[in-house]
Protein backbone atom coordinates (compact mmCIF):
# COMPACT_ATOMS: atom_id res chain seq x y z
CA UNK A 1 0.00 0.00 0.00
CA UNK A 2 2.76 2.43 0.88
CA UNK A 3 3.82 3.46 -2.62
CA UNK A 4 0.29 4.22 -3.79
CA UNK A 5 -0.47 5.85 -0.48
CA UNK A 6 2.63 8.02 -0.64
CA UNK A 7 1.59 9.40 -4.00
CA UNK A 8 -1.78 10.37 -2.59
CA UNK A 9 -0.29 11.99 0.47
CA UNK A 10 -0.80 9.09 2.88
CA UNK A 11 2.40 7.39 3.95
CA UNK A 12 3.44 4.76 6.46
CA UNK A 13 6.96 5.60 7.60
CA UNK A 14 9.11 3.53 9.96
CA UNK A 15 7.94 4.65 13.37
CA UNK A 16 10.57 5.65 15.88
CA UNK A 17 9.71 4.98 19.52
CA UNK A 18 9.87 8.60 20.66
CA UNK A 19 8.47 10.45 17.66
CA UNK A 20 4.83 10.95 16.84
CA UNK A 21 2.98 7.87 15.59
CA UNK A 22 0.68 10.07 13.57
CA UNK A 23 1.57 13.33 11.83
CA UNK A 24 -1.00 15.37 9.95
CA UNK A 25 0.31 18.46 8.16
CA UNK A 26 -1.81 21.19 6.60
CA UNK A 27 -4.46 18.75 5.49
CA UNK A 28 -7.50 20.07 3.65
CA UNK A 29 -10.39 18.18 2.20
CA UNK A 30 -12.85 19.62 -0.28
CA UNK A 31 -15.90 17.70 -1.48
CA UNK A 32 -17.33 18.59 -4.88
CA UNK A 33 -16.09 21.21 -7.33
CA UNK A 34 -16.80 24.79 -8.33
CA UNK A 35 -19.54 26.73 -6.58
CA UNK A 36 -20.98 23.49 -5.13
CA UNK A 37 -17.74 22.66 -3.34
CA UNK A 38 -17.77 22.18 0.43
CA UNK A 39 -14.63 22.59 2.47
CA UNK A 40 -14.87 19.79 5.04
CA UNK A 41 -11.42 20.32 6.51
CA UNK A 42 -9.19 23.36 6.24
CA UNK A 43 -5.50 23.31 7.00
CA UNK A 44 -5.58 20.78 9.80
CA UNK A 45 -2.30 19.91 11.48
CA UNK A 46 -2.00 17.44 14.33
CA UNK A 47 0.64 15.22 15.91
CA UNK A 48 -0.20 12.26 18.10
CA UNK A 49 2.36 10.37 20.20
CA UNK A 50 2.40 6.60 20.53
CA UNK A 51 0.15 5.44 23.36
CA UNK A 52 -1.64 8.78 23.59
CA UNK A 53 -5.41 8.96 24.06
CA UNK A 54 -6.64 11.96 22.08
CA UNK A 55 -10.27 13.05 22.04
CA UNK A 56 -11.72 15.30 19.36
CA UNK A 57 -14.84 17.36 20.12
CA UNK A 58 -16.87 19.54 17.83
CA UNK A 59 -20.34 20.28 16.57
CA UNK A 60 -21.83 18.17 13.84
CA UNK A 61 -20.42 19.06 10.45
CA UNK A 62 -16.98 20.01 11.75
CA UNK A 63 -15.26 17.33 9.71
CA UNK A 64 -14.45 14.97 12.60
CA UNK A 65 -15.52 11.91 10.67
CA UNK A 66 -13.79 13.13 7.51
CA UNK A 67 -10.58 13.44 9.49
CA UNK A 68 -10.89 9.87 10.78
CA UNK A 69 -11.60 8.60 7.26
CA UNK A 70 -8.42 10.29 6.03
CA UNK A 71 -6.37 8.73 8.82
CA UNK A 72 -7.90 5.31 8.07
CA UNK A 73 -7.04 5.77 4.39
CA UNK A 74 -10.71 5.40 3.45
CA UNK A 75 -10.44 8.77 1.70
CA UNK A 76 -7.65 10.96 0.33
CA UNK A 77 -6.91 14.57 1.33
CA UNK A 78 -7.27 17.32 -1.26
CA UNK A 79 -3.99 18.77 -0.05
CA UNK A 80 -1.50 18.28 2.79
CA UNK A 81 0.14 15.11 4.03
CA UNK A 82 -0.61 12.38 6.56
CA UNK A 83 1.99 10.08 8.02
CA UNK A 84 0.37 7.18 9.79
CA UNK A 85 2.94 5.11 11.67
CA UNK A 86 0.89 2.04 12.47
CA UNK A 87 -2.00 0.05 11.12
CA UNK A 88 -5.36 1.59 12.00
CA UNK A 89 -8.58 0.02 13.22
CA UNK A 90 -11.99 1.68 13.21
CA UNK A 91 -14.90 1.58 15.66
CA UNK A 92 -18.17 3.12 14.47
CA UNK A 93 -21.08 4.74 16.24
CA UNK A 94 -23.18 1.68 15.45
CA UNK A 95 -21.67 -1.65 16.42
CA UNK A 96 -22.15 -2.78 12.79
CA UNK A 97 -22.10 -6.46 13.65
CA UNK A 98 -23.00 -8.81 10.81
CA UNK A 99 -26.38 -10.29 11.80
CA UNK A 100 -25.80 -13.68 10.18
CA UNK A 101 -22.71 -14.35 12.30
CA UNK A 102 -22.37 -15.15 15.99
CA UNK A 103 -20.47 -12.79 18.29
CA UNK A 104 -17.35 -14.96 17.96
CA UNK A 105 -17.63 -15.16 14.18
CA UNK A 106 -17.97 -11.37 14.06
CA UNK A 107 -14.56 -11.17 15.69
CA UNK A 108 -13.19 -14.01 13.56
CA UNK A 109 -14.08 -12.24 10.33
CA UNK A 110 -11.58 -9.49 11.18
CA UNK A 111 -8.94 -12.18 11.68
CA UNK A 112 -9.98 -13.90 8.45
CA UNK A 113 -9.70 -10.70 6.41
CA UNK A 114 -6.33 -10.05 8.07
CA UNK A 115 -5.31 -13.50 6.75
CA UNK A 116 -4.81 -15.11 10.15
CA UNK A 117 -4.60 -18.93 9.60
CA UNK A 118 -7.94 -20.64 10.08
CA UNK A 119 -7.10 -22.81 13.10
CA UNK A 120 -5.82 -19.80 15.07
CA UNK A 121 -8.97 -17.72 14.56
CA UNK A 122 -11.43 -19.32 16.98
CA UNK A 123 -9.11 -19.42 20.02
CA UNK A 124 -7.88 -15.87 19.30
CA UNK A 125 -11.48 -14.62 18.98
CA UNK A 126 -12.38 -16.29 22.26
CA UNK A 127 -9.41 -14.59 23.90
CA UNK A 128 -10.52 -11.21 22.60
CA UNK A 129 -14.09 -11.76 23.81
CA UNK A 130 -12.56 -12.53 27.20
CA UNK A 131 -10.66 -9.23 27.03
CA UNK A 132 -13.93 -7.32 26.60
CA UNK A 133 -15.52 -9.52 29.29
CA UNK A 134 -17.88 -11.43 27.05
CA UNK A 135 -16.68 -14.92 27.96
CA UNK A 136 -19.50 -17.38 27.30
CA UNK A 137 -21.38 -15.06 24.92
CA UNK A 138 -19.49 -16.07 21.78
CA UNK A 139 -22.28 -18.23 20.36
CA UNK A 140 -24.97 -15.56 20.65
CA UNK A 141 -26.10 -13.66 17.60
CA UNK A 142 -26.06 -9.84 17.58
CA UNK A 143 -29.84 -9.54 18.05
CA UNK A 144 -29.57 -11.59 21.23
CA UNK A 145 -27.13 -9.10 22.80
CA UNK A 146 -27.75 -5.74 24.49
CA UNK A 147 -26.49 -2.52 22.91
CA UNK A 148 -23.54 -2.38 25.30
CA UNK A 149 -22.60 -5.99 24.59
CA UNK A 150 -22.76 -5.36 20.86
CA UNK A 151 -20.31 -2.47 21.23
CA UNK A 152 -18.04 -4.76 23.27
CA UNK A 153 -18.04 -7.25 20.41
CA UNK A 154 -17.20 -4.36 18.07
CA UNK A 155 -14.35 -3.43 20.41
CA UNK A 156 -13.09 -7.03 20.37
CA UNK A 157 -13.26 -7.00 16.56
CA UNK A 158 -11.35 -3.73 16.59
CA UNK A 159 -8.63 -5.32 18.73
CA UNK A 160 -8.57 -8.34 16.41
CA UNK A 161 -7.17 -6.11 13.68
CA UNK A 162 -3.96 -5.91 15.66
CA UNK A 163 -3.66 -2.22 14.92
CA UNK A 164 -1.54 0.29 16.82
CA UNK A 165 -3.93 3.17 16.24
CA UNK A 166 -7.62 2.86 17.02
CA UNK A 167 -10.05 5.38 15.54
CA UNK A 168 -13.34 5.69 17.36
CA UNK A 169 -16.18 7.67 15.79
CA UNK A 170 -18.66 8.39 18.61
CA UNK A 171 -18.76 4.68 19.47
CA UNK A 172 -20.83 5.16 22.62
CA UNK A 173 -23.21 7.85 21.40
CA UNK A 174 -26.18 5.52 21.17
CA UNK A 175 -25.80 3.91 24.60
CA UNK A 176 -27.46 4.73 27.91
CA UNK A 177 -25.37 6.58 30.49
CA UNK A 178 -24.65 3.61 32.74
CA UNK A 179 -23.52 1.29 29.94
CA UNK A 180 -21.45 4.12 28.50
CA UNK A 181 -19.64 4.63 31.82
CA UNK A 182 -18.71 0.94 31.95
CA UNK A 183 -17.43 1.04 28.41
CA UNK A 184 -15.33 4.12 29.22
CA UNK A 185 -13.54 2.07 31.87
CA UNK A 186 -13.22 -0.83 29.47
CA UNK A 187 -11.83 1.13 26.55
CA UNK A 188 -9.44 3.02 28.80
CA UNK A 189 -8.02 -0.11 30.43
CA UNK A 190 -7.76 -2.07 27.18
CA UNK A 191 -6.00 0.83 25.46
CA UNK A 192 -3.56 1.15 28.37
CA UNK A 193 -2.84 -2.59 28.63
CA UNK A 194 -2.27 -2.97 24.92
CA UNK A 195 -0.39 0.29 24.48
CA UNK A 196 -2.86 1.54 21.87
CA UNK A 197 -2.97 5.02 20.46
CA UNK A 198 -6.60 6.11 20.45
CA UNK A 199 -8.27 8.92 18.56
CA UNK A 200 -11.76 9.20 19.96
CA UNK A 201 -14.33 11.49 18.38
CA UNK A 202 -17.33 12.65 20.38
CA UNK A 203 -19.71 15.59 20.60
CA UNK A 204 -19.88 15.22 24.37
CA UNK A 205 -17.40 17.53 26.12
CA UNK A 206 -17.45 15.62 29.42
CA UNK A 207 -16.83 12.35 27.67
CA UNK A 208 -13.87 13.96 25.90
CA UNK A 209 -12.38 15.09 29.20
CA UNK A 210 -13.24 11.81 30.94
CA UNK A 211 -11.09 9.90 28.43
CA UNK A 212 -8.57 12.20 26.81
CA UNK A 213 -4.94 12.81 27.64
CA UNK A 214 -5.49 15.69 25.30
CA UNK A 215 -8.70 17.28 24.02
CA UNK A 216 -8.88 18.85 20.58
CA UNK A 217 -11.69 21.25 19.75
CA UNK A 218 -12.85 21.50 16.17
CA UNK A 219 -14.91 24.31 14.68
CA UNK A 220 -17.21 23.92 11.72
CA UNK A 221 -17.66 25.44 8.25
CA UNK A 222 -14.96 24.97 7.38
CA UNK A 223 -13.85 22.18 9.71
CA UNK A 224 -10.62 23.11 11.49
CA UNK A 225 -8.84 22.74 14.80
CA UNK A 226 -9.59 25.76 16.98
CA UNK A 227 -8.01 24.81 20.28
CA UNK A 228 -6.30 22.00 22.10
CA UNK A 229 -5.56 21.34 25.72
CA UNK A 230 -3.78 18.61 27.66
CA UNK A 231 -5.86 17.19 30.53
CA UNK A 232 -3.48 16.44 33.42
CA UNK A 233 -6.13 14.87 35.72
CA UNK A 234 -5.23 11.34 36.91
CA UNK A 235 -6.97 8.34 35.28
CA UNK A 236 -9.50 6.86 35.66
CA UNK A 237 -11.69 9.94 35.87
CA UNK A 238 -15.35 10.20 36.70
CA UNK A 239 -17.52 11.84 34.10
CA UNK A 240 -19.75 13.58 36.66
CA UNK A 241 -16.95 14.71 38.97
CA UNK A 242 -16.55 18.49 39.61
CA UNK A 243 -13.06 18.55 38.01
CA UNK A 244 -14.39 17.14 34.76
CA UNK A 245 -17.48 19.35 34.85
CA UNK A 246 -15.45 22.54 35.44
CA UNK A 247 -13.09 21.82 32.56
CA UNK A 248 -15.99 20.87 30.33
CA UNK A 249 -17.71 24.18 31.05
CA UNK A 250 -14.51 26.12 30.32
CA UNK A 251 -13.90 24.30 27.03
CA UNK A 252 -17.53 24.64 25.98
CA UNK A 253 -17.25 28.38 26.59
CA UNK A 254 -14.13 28.46 24.46
CA UNK A 255 -15.91 26.67 21.63
CA UNK A 256 -18.82 29.08 21.92
CA UNK A 257 -16.42 31.98 21.43
CA UNK A 258 -15.81 30.44 18.04
CA UNK A 259 -19.50 30.70 17.35
CA UNK A 260 -20.28 27.03 17.75
CA UNK A 261 -23.03 26.44 20.24
CA UNK A 262 -24.31 22.96 19.50
CA UNK A 263 -21.96 21.06 21.77
CA UNK A 264 -23.50 19.10 24.64
Amino acid sequence: MSLMALVKGHSVPESSPDGPILRIENVSKVFGRGPEATVALQDVSLEVMAGEFVTIVGASGCGKSTLLNLIADLDQPTSGTLEVGRKTAFMFQEATLLPWLTARQNVEIALKLAKVPKRERAPRAEELLETVRLTGWGDKRPHELSGGMRQRVALARCLAQDAGIVLMDEPLGALDAMTRDHLHDEIESVAREQGLTVIFVTHNMREAIRLGDRVILMGSTPGRIVYEEAIPLPHPRVMDSPEVATRAAALTARLKEQGHTHVG
Binding site: T96, P99, W100, A110, L134, G148, T179
Partner: protein
Protein backbone atom coordinates in the same frame (compact mmCIF):
# COMPACT_ATOMS: atom_id res chain seq x y z
CA UNK B 1 -19.47 -8.98 32.62
CA UNK B 2 -20.52 -7.69 36.02
CA UNK B 3 -22.61 -4.56 35.78
CA UNK B 4 -23.43 -4.43 32.10
CA UNK B 5 -25.00 -7.88 32.26
CA UNK B 6 -27.14 -7.11 35.26
CA UNK B 7 -28.31 -3.77 33.96
CA UNK B 8 -29.24 -4.94 30.51
CA UNK B 9 -30.67 -8.44 30.50
CA UNK B 10 -29.82 -9.94 27.15
CA UNK B 11 -32.59 -11.41 25.05
CA UNK B 12 -32.19 -15.17 25.12
CA UNK B 13 -33.45 -17.22 22.21
CA UNK B 14 -36.67 -18.76 23.50
CA UNK B 15 -36.73 -21.52 20.92
CA UNK B 16 -33.46 -22.85 22.32
CA UNK B 17 -35.09 -23.71 25.64
CA UNK B 18 -37.71 -26.05 24.20
CA UNK B 19 -36.46 -29.65 23.70
CA UNK B 20 -35.55 -30.01 20.03
CA UNK B 21 -38.00 -32.86 19.28
CA UNK B 22 -41.04 -31.11 20.75
CA UNK B 23 -40.06 -27.91 18.91
CA UNK B 24 -39.95 -29.69 15.57
CA UNK B 25 -43.30 -31.41 16.15
CA UNK B 26 -44.92 -28.15 17.18
CA UNK B 27 -43.49 -26.31 14.19
CA UNK B 28 -44.62 -29.09 11.87
CA UNK B 29 -48.11 -28.94 13.32
CA UNK B 30 -48.22 -25.15 13.04
CA UNK B 31 -47.23 -25.56 9.40
CA UNK B 32 -49.68 -28.39 8.62
CA UNK B 33 -52.94 -27.32 10.21
CA UNK B 34 -53.70 -24.21 8.12
CA UNK B 35 -52.99 -26.22 4.99
CA UNK B 36 -55.19 -29.06 6.23
CA UNK B 37 -57.99 -26.59 6.90
CA UNK B 38 -57.61 -25.14 3.40
CA UNK B 39 -57.87 -28.62 1.88
CA UNK B 40 -61.00 -29.42 3.91
CA UNK B 41 -62.57 -26.11 2.79
CA UNK B 42 -61.82 -26.76 -0.88
CA UNK B 43 -63.20 -30.31 -0.69
CA UNK B 44 -66.35 -29.05 1.05
CA UNK B 45 -67.05 -26.35 -1.55
CA UNK B 46 -66.31 -28.80 -4.36
CA UNK B 47 -68.73 -31.36 -2.91
CA UNK B 48 -71.45 -28.75 -2.51
CA UNK B 49 -71.06 -27.74 -6.17
CA UNK B 50 -71.26 -31.41 -7.25
CA UNK B 51 -74.41 -31.91 -5.12
CA UNK B 52 -76.00 -28.82 -6.66
CA UNK B 53 -76.07 -30.72 -9.98
CA UNK B 54 -74.60 -27.75 -11.85
CA UNK B 55 -72.63 -30.08 -14.16
CA UNK B 56 -73.04 -33.84 -14.76
CA UNK B 57 -70.68 -36.00 -12.73
CA UNK B 58 -68.83 -37.36 -15.78
CA UNK B 59 -67.55 -33.80 -16.28
CA UNK B 60 -67.31 -32.75 -12.64
CA UNK B 61 -66.72 -35.83 -10.49
CA UNK B 62 -67.08 -35.70 -6.71
CA UNK B 63 -64.06 -35.34 -4.41
CA UNK B 64 -64.53 -38.93 -3.23
CA UNK B 65 -64.39 -40.31 -6.77
CA UNK B 66 -61.40 -38.11 -7.61
CA UNK B 67 -59.50 -39.14 -4.51
CA UNK B 68 -60.25 -42.76 -5.26
CA UNK B 69 -58.90 -42.28 -8.79
CA UNK B 70 -55.87 -40.56 -7.33
CA UNK B 71 -55.29 -43.54 -5.04
CA UNK B 72 -55.54 -45.99 -7.95
CA UNK B 73 -53.29 -43.71 -10.02
CA UNK B 74 -50.63 -43.78 -7.30
CA UNK B 75 -50.47 -47.55 -7.85
CA UNK B 76 -49.62 -47.28 -11.55
CA UNK B 77 -46.13 -47.19 -12.96
CA UNK B 78 -47.25 -44.68 -15.58
CA UNK B 79 -48.01 -42.08 -12.89
CA UNK B 80 -44.64 -42.41 -11.21
CA UNK B 81 -42.80 -42.24 -14.49
CA UNK B 82 -44.79 -39.09 -15.38
CA UNK B 83 -44.05 -37.53 -12.00
CA UNK B 84 -40.38 -38.41 -12.40
CA UNK B 85 -40.16 -36.82 -15.85
CA UNK B 86 -41.85 -33.67 -14.61
CA UNK B 87 -39.74 -33.39 -11.45
CA UNK B 88 -36.49 -33.93 -13.36
CA UNK B 89 -37.50 -31.15 -15.76
CA UNK B 90 -38.38 -28.92 -12.82
CA UNK B 91 -35.07 -29.58 -11.06
CA UNK B 92 -32.92 -29.21 -14.18
CA UNK B 93 -34.82 -26.10 -15.33
CA UNK B 94 -34.68 -24.48 -11.91
CA UNK B 95 -30.99 -25.34 -11.50
CA UNK B 96 -30.19 -23.74 -14.86
CA UNK B 97 -32.28 -20.69 -13.92
CA UNK B 98 -30.44 -20.56 -10.59
CA UNK B 99 -27.00 -20.47 -12.21
CA UNK B 100 -27.99 -18.08 -15.00
CA UNK B 101 -30.16 -15.82 -12.85
CA UNK B 102 -27.57 -15.57 -10.09
CA UNK B 103 -24.69 -14.81 -12.47
CA UNK B 104 -26.70 -12.17 -14.31
CA UNK B 105 -27.88 -10.70 -11.01
CA UNK B 106 -24.36 -10.34 -9.61
CA UNK B 107 -23.04 -8.89 -12.88
CA UNK B 108 -25.88 -6.41 -13.25
CA UNK B 109 -25.65 -5.32 -9.62
CA UNK B 110 -21.91 -4.76 -9.92
CA UNK B 111 -21.52 -3.13 -13.33
CA UNK B 112 -23.25 0.22 -13.55
CA UNK B 113 -23.74 0.53 -17.35
CA UNK B 114 -25.11 -3.02 -17.46
CA UNK B 115 -27.33 -2.06 -14.61
CA UNK B 116 -28.98 0.77 -16.49
CA UNK B 117 -29.34 -1.26 -19.68
CA UNK B 118 -30.41 -4.62 -18.29
CA UNK B 119 -32.11 -3.75 -15.02
CA UNK B 120 -35.44 -2.70 -16.49
CA UNK B 121 -35.25 -5.42 -19.12
CA UNK B 122 -35.17 -8.03 -16.36
CA UNK B 123 -38.24 -6.54 -14.70
CA UNK B 124 -39.94 -6.49 -18.11
CA UNK B 125 -39.14 -10.14 -18.70
CA UNK B 126 -40.59 -10.92 -15.30
CA UNK B 127 -43.98 -9.50 -16.26
CA UNK B 128 -44.00 -11.42 -19.57
CA UNK B 129 -46.31 -14.47 -19.31
CA UNK B 130 -43.99 -17.39 -19.98
CA UNK B 131 -46.58 -19.24 -22.04
CA UNK B 132 -46.14 -16.49 -24.62
CA UNK B 133 -42.61 -17.81 -25.22
CA UNK B 134 -43.71 -21.30 -26.22
CA UNK B 135 -44.59 -20.78 -29.90
CA UNK B 136 -41.16 -19.19 -30.36
CA UNK B 137 -39.42 -21.88 -28.30
CA UNK B 138 -41.08 -24.61 -30.36
CA UNK B 139 -39.94 -22.90 -33.57
CA UNK B 140 -36.41 -22.62 -32.20
CA UNK B 141 -36.01 -26.08 -30.72
CA UNK B 142 -38.92 -28.19 -31.95
CA UNK B 143 -41.31 -30.18 -29.78
CA UNK B 144 -38.70 -31.42 -27.31
CA UNK B 145 -37.10 -31.05 -23.91
CA UNK B 146 -35.01 -28.04 -24.88
CA UNK B 147 -38.12 -26.04 -25.74
CA UNK B 148 -39.55 -26.76 -22.30
CA UNK B 149 -36.32 -26.03 -20.44
CA UNK B 150 -35.82 -22.82 -22.41
CA UNK B 151 -39.14 -21.44 -21.25
CA UNK B 152 -38.75 -22.68 -17.67
CA UNK B 153 -35.40 -20.88 -17.45
CA UNK B 154 -36.85 -17.72 -18.98
CA UNK B 155 -39.68 -17.90 -16.48
CA UNK B 156 -37.55 -18.36 -13.38
CA UNK B 157 -34.23 -16.62 -14.07
CA UNK B 158 -35.54 -12.99 -14.03
CA UNK B 159 -37.03 -13.44 -10.55
CA UNK B 160 -33.81 -14.96 -9.27
CA UNK B 161 -31.71 -12.21 -10.87
CA UNK B 162 -34.02 -9.57 -9.39
CA UNK B 163 -33.65 -11.18 -5.96
CA UNK B 164 -29.87 -10.93 -6.23
CA UNK B 165 -29.98 -7.34 -7.47
CA UNK B 166 -32.36 -6.09 -4.81
CA UNK B 167 -30.42 -8.02 -2.17
CA UNK B 168 -27.13 -6.41 -3.18
CA UNK B 169 -28.79 -2.99 -3.51
CA UNK B 170 -30.07 -3.14 0.03
CA UNK B 171 -26.84 -4.18 1.70
CA UNK B 172 -26.36 -1.47 4.35
CA UNK B 173 -23.51 0.88 3.27
CA UNK B 174 -22.11 0.52 6.80
CA UNK B 175 -21.42 -3.19 6.12
CA UNK B 176 -19.46 -2.31 2.99
CA UNK B 177 -17.54 0.33 4.91
CA UNK B 178 -16.80 -2.21 7.63
CA UNK B 179 -15.48 -4.60 5.01
CA UNK B 180 -13.12 -1.93 3.69
CA UNK B 181 -11.98 -1.02 7.20
CA UNK B 182 -11.24 -4.70 7.83
CA UNK B 183 -9.13 -4.75 4.68
CA UNK B 184 -11.39 -6.82 2.42
CA UNK B 185 -10.59 -6.85 -1.29
CA UNK B 186 -13.34 -6.93 -3.91
CA UNK B 187 -13.58 -10.73 -3.85
CA UNK B 188 -13.62 -11.17 -0.08
CA UNK B 189 -15.96 -8.19 0.29
CA UNK B 190 -18.49 -10.06 -1.87
CA UNK B 191 -17.86 -13.49 -0.39
CA UNK B 192 -17.86 -12.50 3.28
CA UNK B 193 -20.11 -9.45 3.43
CA UNK B 194 -22.19 -8.46 0.41
CA UNK B 195 -23.52 -11.87 -0.65
CA UNK B 196 -24.36 -13.12 2.87
CA UNK B 197 -26.07 -9.78 3.57
CA UNK B 198 -28.11 -10.21 0.36
CA UNK B 199 -29.24 -13.74 1.28
CA UNK B 200 -32.79 -12.97 2.54
CA UNK B 201 -33.74 -11.13 -0.67
CA UNK B 202 -32.04 -13.85 -2.69
CA UNK B 203 -34.16 -16.52 -1.00
CA UNK B 204 -37.36 -14.56 -1.81
CA UNK B 205 -36.16 -14.39 -5.40
CA UNK B 206 -35.64 -18.15 -5.41
CA UNK B 207 -39.12 -18.75 -3.98
CA UNK B 208 -40.71 -16.57 -6.63
CA UNK B 209 -38.47 -18.13 -9.28
CA UNK B 210 -39.69 -21.58 -8.29
CA UNK B 211 -43.35 -20.51 -8.63
CA UNK B 212 -42.64 -19.16 -12.13
CA UNK B 213 -40.62 -22.25 -13.08
CA UNK B 214 -43.42 -24.57 -12.00
CA UNK B 215 -46.08 -22.60 -13.90
CA UNK B 216 -43.94 -22.40 -17.03
CA UNK B 217 -43.23 -26.11 -16.81
CA UNK B 218 -46.92 -27.01 -16.65
CA UNK B 219 -47.73 -24.72 -19.57
CA UNK B 220 -44.86 -26.31 -21.47
CA UNK B 221 -45.93 -29.86 -20.76
CA UNK B 222 -49.44 -29.11 -22.01
CA UNK B 223 -48.15 -27.65 -25.26
CA UNK B 224 -45.04 -29.72 -25.91
CA UNK B 225 -46.13 -33.32 -25.69
CA UNK B 226 -43.36 -35.74 -26.43
CA UNK B 227 -44.45 -39.19 -27.61
CA UNK B 228 -43.77 -42.14 -25.27
CA UNK B 229 -42.80 -39.71 -22.50
CA UNK B 230 -45.61 -39.30 -19.97
CA UNK B 231 -45.49 -36.21 -17.77
CA UNK B 232 -47.98 -34.55 -15.41
CA UNK B 233 -48.87 -31.95 -18.05
CA UNK B 234 -49.22 -34.55 -20.79
CA UNK B 235 -51.43 -36.64 -18.50
CA UNK B 236 -53.70 -33.63 -18.04
CA UNK B 237 -53.99 -33.18 -21.78
CA UNK B 238 -54.68 -36.90 -22.38
CA UNK B 239 -57.28 -36.99 -19.60
CA UNK B 240 -59.06 -34.08 -21.28
CA UNK B 241 -58.91 -35.64 -24.75
CA UNK B 242 -60.37 -38.91 -23.46
CA UNK B 243 -62.83 -37.13 -21.15
CA UNK B 244 -61.42 -38.77 -18.03
CA UNK B 245 -62.47 -36.09 -15.60
CA UNK B 246 -61.44 -37.93 -12.40
CA UNK B 247 -57.90 -38.49 -13.80
CA UNK B 248 -57.73 -34.85 -14.84
CA UNK B 249 -58.69 -33.57 -11.41
CA UNK B 250 -56.46 -36.12 -9.65
CA UNK B 251 -53.48 -34.95 -11.73
CA UNK B 252 -54.31 -31.33 -10.94
CA UNK B 253 -54.26 -32.20 -7.24
CA UNK B 254 -50.80 -33.70 -7.66
CA UNK B 255 -49.57 -30.56 -9.44
CA UNK B 256 -50.98 -28.38 -6.66
CA UNK B 257 -49.44 -30.52 -3.92
CA UNK B 258 -45.97 -30.65 -5.51
CA UNK B 259 -45.99 -26.88 -6.01
CA UNK B 260 -47.05 -26.27 -2.42
CA UNK B 261 -44.53 -28.72 -0.95
CA UNK B 262 -41.58 -27.12 -2.75
CA UNK B 263 -42.83 -23.63 -1.89
CA UNK B 264 -43.09 -24.79 1.73
CA UNK B 265 -39.44 -25.84 1.67
CA UNK B 266 -38.38 -22.43 0.37
CA UNK B 267 -40.51 -20.62 2.94
CA UNK B 268 -39.10 -22.74 5.74
CA UNK B 269 -35.58 -21.88 4.62
CA UNK B 270 -36.49 -18.17 4.35
CA UNK B 271 -37.89 -18.25 7.89
CA UNK B 272 -34.75 -19.99 9.13
CA UNK B 273 -32.54 -17.27 7.55
CA UNK B 274 -34.66 -14.48 9.00
CA UNK B 275 -34.82 -16.07 12.42
CA UNK B 276 -31.04 -16.42 12.64
CA UNK B 277 -30.72 -12.71 11.93
CA UNK B 278 -33.38 -11.69 14.44
CA UNK B 279 -35.67 -10.48 11.66
CA UNK B 280 -38.70 -12.55 12.65
CA UNK B 281 -42.03 -10.82 12.36
CA UNK B 282 -43.29 -11.15 15.92
Amino acid sequence: MSADGSVLTPVVDEAAEVPAGAGVARKAWAWIWPKGLAIVLVLAIWQVVVWSGWRPTYVLPSPAETLQTLWTMLGTERFWSALQTTLIRAVVGFALALVIGTSIGVLVARVRPLRLAVGSLITGLQTMPSIAWFPFAILLFGLNEQAILFVVVLGAAPSIANGVISGIDHVPPSFVRLGKVLGAGTYSLYRDIVLPAALPAYVSGLTQGWAFAWRSLMAGELLVIIAEKPSLGANLEFARQFSKAPQLLATMLVILIVGMLVDGLFSAYARHVRHRRGLDAK
